[in-house]
């Protein structure tokens, strides 16, 4: 690999200065340096677009990819999936958009990461790969948009944050509700003290079971060219080929092989939103316990977090509710806001419904250019996932746990601490 040193007289340098002067620069600081211009292959990316590759193009991946293809300042140059049919479909999607045949297909994402002309990657594999692939991408110098849940356990969450901080790369976790106006407004009410001192935060985890992925029935392996099963399993424990897991295993190894997914599915959204409202993006709760059919946690400030399934107002899927001493607000995917007083939610606001990722993806690409931190950056993702993992462990063990968010360990509970990480299948190591 070559050094990134730039000659002051290089075209990239000239463009930087020129753009700064002409555009009023500060409007959108034009700091983005295409990977190709960083001197690794001596070329300059066409039109200074952000070049990206997409890794894992199943249902969610196709959707994310379609959102990214709509952005005018980015260009997808490569796709990767362990399934041949998905690779080809994704290439068709990309080539169809650009009207050429240029998109390159990969089975092994390491080959895609090794391309020096790629600035950013979309990682929309199953959750089994999210953290490891993101960390490998950051080490390879790429910015990453990674679907949620971003990690399988507490150790992965911490490594994710420290790797992105160390490498200066950017991560946007796929918690796209952070970029939707109703969720942002509700969080801002809590942050600005409009609800008074916060008392209870409610998140809809979408189920609390901590089942692991189990052992599917063995089926004939179609071969590496059709579906690379070994690569699909990656860091997870070996098991025989199973078509159901390959095509519908969105939750495969979510939460790892022992504790299981639990509240991670929607918790990675809703708990994350509560962290945001609570202004605890840089820490996690200190106490976790199962309580009836819900999971609870408590922050050092005394604020209680309740992960519950029932009793929501009619605000659609993935709702959250923030309660303070002076009022409450609740919202969900319908885009509607409910509050203890109309005064809290009166006024003009942008409204959306559903949970489109477009705004979140735009925020990511804006940050790739400005080098500012995205809304759901690595530190944010790390802490909100730790809350989910710690709650899952409390649910799995069926007892109350105390957690030290500085040392990142459970206090006086060796069994719980042993569940913070798990050995990855060789040769994978995070």
């Amino acid at each position: 690999m070559q050094s990134e040193s730039l000659n002051p007289a290089s075209s990239s340098r000239r463009r930087f200065l020129k753009t700064s002067a002409l555009t009023g620069g500060a409007l959108a600081l034009p700091y983005f340096i295409p990977a190709a211009a960083l001197g690794r292959d001596g070329a300059v990316a066409p039109g200074e677009k952000i070049t990206f590759g997409a890794i894992g193009i199943g249902g969610r991946g196709s959707y994310d990819l379609s959102c990214m293809l709509e952005e005018q300042d980015v260009r997808c140059v490569a796709v990767c999936d362990v399934r041949k049919e998905r690779r080809e479909a994704a290439k068709q999607q990309v080539d169809g958009k650009y009207g050429n045949k240029d998109c390159v297909m990969y089975n092994d994402f390491r080959e895609l990461l090794a391309r020096p002309d790629i600035d950013a990657v979309l990682i929309a594999t199953g959750p089994n790969w999210h953290a490891l692939a993101s960390v490998m991408a950051a080490k390879a110098g790429k910015d990453v948009y990674c679907e949620k849940p971003c990690t399988k356990n507490i150790a992965e969450s911490l490594i994710l944050a420290e790797t992105f901080q160390r490498t200066g790369r950017l991560l946007q976790g796929g918690m796209q509700r952070r970029s939707l106006p109703n969720f942002e407004f509700a969080a801002s009410l809590a942050q600005r003290g409009k609800l008074g001192k916060l008392t209870v935060l409610h998140a809809h985890p979408g189920g609390l079971g901590t089942e692991s992925s189990g052992w599917p029935g063995a089926q004939p392996d179609p071969g590496k060219e059709v579906a690379d099963w070994d690569m699909y399993l990656g860091p997870a424990a070996w098991r025989p080929f199973n078509d159901g897991i390959l095509h519908n295993g969105g939750g495969f190894e979510k939460g790892g092989g022992l504790v299981g997914g639990g509240c991670l599915e929607w918790g990675s959204h809703c708990v994350d939103l509560c962290q945001w409202a609570n202004q605890t993006d840089d820490t996690s709760a200190v106490e976790y316990w199962p309580e009836g059919n819900q999971l609870c946690a408590k922050y050092a400030s005394g604020v209680k977090l309740v992960m519950r399934n029932d009793g929501w107002l009619n605000s659609g899927s993935c709702p959250v509710r923030y309660e303070g001493e002076n009022g409450w607000v609740e919202t969900g995917d319908s885009g509607e806001l409910f509050a203890s007083s109309l005064d809290l939610i009166n006024g003009k606001r942008a409204k959306s419904s559903g949970y489109p990722a477009n705004f979140h993806i735009r925020n990511f690409f804006d940050c790739v250019k400005s080098r500012n931190q995205p809304r759901a950056n690595a530190k944010v993702a790390c802490q909100s996932h730790i809350v989910c993992h710690a709650a899952n462990i409390a649910q799995f063990l069926g007892r109350k746990l105390q957690y030290d968010p500085v040392k990142n360990e459970f206090i006086g509970d060796q069994e719980a601490n042993r569940l913070r990480s798990e050995a990855l299948r060789e040769p994978w190591r995070i």
């Binding site: 340098r13 098991r239 022992l258 199962p290 990480s421």
Partner: protein, 650 residues
């Protein structure tokens, strides 16, 4: 403890094998013994893998020998490490260490990784020896494992191998060194960490993320002494390092950073000023304000705008007054940024600054201040706005009135009405009407609001009256309705029409009798039609009971002469789902212009028919509908289906 699916599976498997009869209740030691027995048995792979998982949670030194025995097993080596990696105590370390010399390939790579996870200092020598292994995967695993161990001793072999490491393993060695440096810095051994960071940042050939990471470590670990290095990178020609330095400057906790960078502002080239402004804004340190506000006054336009934005991002009210001085800057973008900045600055001091200028500035400044009053929602500006709304300058006057209307609350109704009644300026009337409507809609005492609106009607000119009538429609209530009806008799044509329309659009069915009377008694054809349509519209109001809705339709039907109203009637009847409404629809089946809609309405009513309701009327209507609809076979088909369905009811 809740039993997970995995445990259930394991228990079932063990029960069926006879190996493990009661694990769920057994104490940990007993559980462990049973799990070890599974591993030593001829159990299937799945059962052994599950036993390893459980041992990861509860295993002790007892299980180490049997797990270690599986490390060379290609299929089970991962699960053996899965179990071993979390077992407390030195036994697992010793077992993993002992395996180093016996394994090759992926099992060896796995064991090396596990030693790293366990921070096994005693493995250092053996691991260091493997840094020269011919297998790149082994070398990379060792580099990362040494990094996880993270001591000065672990860093030594990595530093030694760095200059000659093959390109394929360079990133892994760098990662190991980063981890060592981080661990050393965390334990207070900053000097040793700095040596590592400096070695990395001075690499001749390294990826940009390594150089950026090394620069970050070198600066942050040096703390205050890292400032020269920071400035060097910020001033330098290497864009990658400059951008890294920008992030580091935001991250640095050292208090002096803001001042040093603010001082740098005046010396820096415009492109670097942009970077410095971004950093200073994000650091949020008010000590940078003088430097930023100084730059905001003069220099490169983009940098001035960036300085204004950074000053605002700091969020200190002290920036307000200096920013007001830029409101009339010759550079439009600068003036605009200053105005936007003042609008976004928090604090009552900023409001006070805006009010001061609203009272004392010239016309241009006052206009800007009115905008800011509106954006900041400064309710205490109302008395000043009241004065300005009589200003001789029309632009200022209109702006003040619009702003006053935006901020007005219930207590300002009289003042708004005073301004409205004699007003003829369409924009001002619209602004006041909007304000009055918003106040009435949100009022806790709408009757009191209506009383004031009604009292203003006699004094109002025609344009104002029309606005008042529309506002009464928003407010609603009996008194407002009576006033609306009275206005129908107004001699002014516009007021008269507004009143008729107001009645037609009334929010509740309360207006129905008035509209019926007007439909019957009005002399003008237009009034008659409007009233009739309005009356028919009352059949859709939620507060009108179903029987009354049918009565409205029946009454309307007797007066309708035009096909347009017949269509409205059919639409109203389609929603009633009352078989009796068919008597009103059937005559329309003979009217060519509405025949098709009438057939659709018959079908809609028939589909909603309750089984308890009379069949005869519906059947007759459906038969006729099927006969007349010759141009829409799908409608005829549906009518026949419904008829057939009714036959089966017998």
């Amino acid at each position: 403890m809740k039993i997970s699916k995995l445990k259930q599976t394991l228990i079932v498997a063990l029960l069926s094998s006879g190996v493990y009869p009661a694990m769920a209740q057994a104490p940990a030691k007993e559980q462990e013994a049973k799990l070890i027995a599974v591993l030593q048995s001829n159990a299937e792979f799945l059962q052994k893998a599950d036993a390893c998982r459980e041992l990861a949670r509860i295993g002790s030194a007892e299980c180490v020998p049997v797990l270690a025995g599986l490390l060379a097993d290609e299929k089970l080596t991962h699960m053996a490490r899965y179990g071993l990696e979390t077992v407390p105590g030195p036994a697992a370390d010793e077992a993993l260490r002992a395996a180093l010399g016996k394994l090759k390939g992926r099992p060896l790579v796995g064991v090396i990784g596990s030693l790293g996870v366990r921070h096994d200092e005693k493995a250092l020598a053996a691991l260091a020896g493997l840094l020269k292994d011919g297998d790149a995967e082994v070398v990379q695993a060792v580099a990362r494992a040494l990094g996880k161990i993270g001591s000065a001793e672990a860093a030594k072999p990595l530093l030694a191998t760095l200059p000659d490491v093959p390109a394929i393993s360079q990133l892994a060695v760098c990662e190991g060194l980063f981890r060592c440096a981080e661990a050393l810095a965390a334990s207070g051994q900053n000097d040793k960490a700095i040596v590592i960071y400096d070695t990395l940042r001075n690499l001749k050939q390294a990826p940009h993320q390594v150089l950026a990471g090394a620069l970050r470590g070198a600066i942050l670990t040096r703390q205050k002494d890292g400032l020269p290095l920071l400035l060097e990178a910020l001033r330098g020609s290497n864009l990658g390092l400059m951008l890294a330095a920008e992030r580091i400057a935001i991250e640095m906790k050292v208090a002096e950073v803001s001042k040093v960078l603010a001082d740098e502002l005046a010396k820096a080239a415009p492109d670097r000023q942009l970077v410095l402004c971004n950093v200073l804004g994000k650091r949020g340190d008010a000590t940078a304000l003088p430097g930023l506000l100084g730059l905001a006054k003069a220099g490169d336009k983009a940098a001035r705008v960036a300085a204004i934005r950074a000053a605002v991002e700091i969020g200190n009210a002290a920036a307000a007054v200096p920013l007001t001085e830029l409101l009339k800057d010759a550079e439009g973008e600068v003036a605009q940024a200053a105005a936007a900045g003042i609008a976004g600055l928090p604090g009552p001091e900023v409001d006070a600054c805006v009010l001061r200028l609203l009272g004392s500035g010239d016309q241009a400044v006052k206009l800007k201040m009115i905008e800011l009053v509106s954006q900041r929602r400064i309710a205490t500006a109302l008395p000043l706005l009241l004065k300005i709304r009589d200003d001789k300058d029309e632009a200022l006057r209109s702006a003040a009135i619009r702003c006053f209307a935006e901020l007005a609350s219930e207590t300002e109704i009289s003042s708004l009405l005073d301004r409205l009644v004699t007003n003829t300026n369409a924009a001002e009337i619209a602004a006041i009407e909007k304000a009055l409507a918003a106040i009435c809609a949100a009022s806790a005492d709408p009757k009191a609001c209506v009383a004031k609106l009604v009292a203003a009607l006699p004094k109002a000119g025609p344009e104002a009256k029309v606005a008042l009538l529309r506002t009464l429609g928003v407010a609603g209530g009996t008194e407002a309705l009576n006033a609306m009806r009275a206005a129908v008799d107004d001699s002014n044509k516009d007021v008269h029409t507004a009143a008729i329309r107001g009645l037609c659009e009334w929010k509740t069915g309360e207006a129905a009798p008035l509209l019926l009377a007007l439909a019957k008694s009005s002399s003008g054809q237009v009034d008659k039609i409007l009233s009739l349509r309005g009356y028919l519209g009352m059949a859709a109001k939620q507060d009108v009971p179903a029987p009354q809705r049918l009565a409205i339709c029946r009454e309307s039907a007797s007066m309708i002469q035009r096909d347009d109203e017949k269509l409205l009637l059919l639409a109203a009847l389609a929603n009633l789902a009352d078989p009796e409404s068919l008597n009103l629809i059937v005559p329309c089946l003979d009217v060519p212009a509405v025949k098709r809609e009438a057939v659709a309405t018959v079908i809609a009513v028939a589909e909603k028919r309750q089984k308890s309701q009379s069949v005869e009327i519906t059947r007759a209507a459906l038969k006729k509908a099927a006969e007349v609809v010759t141009d829409k076979p799908e409608l005829a088909k549906r009518a026949h289906e419904l008829l057939q369905q009714m036959e089966t009811e017998k």
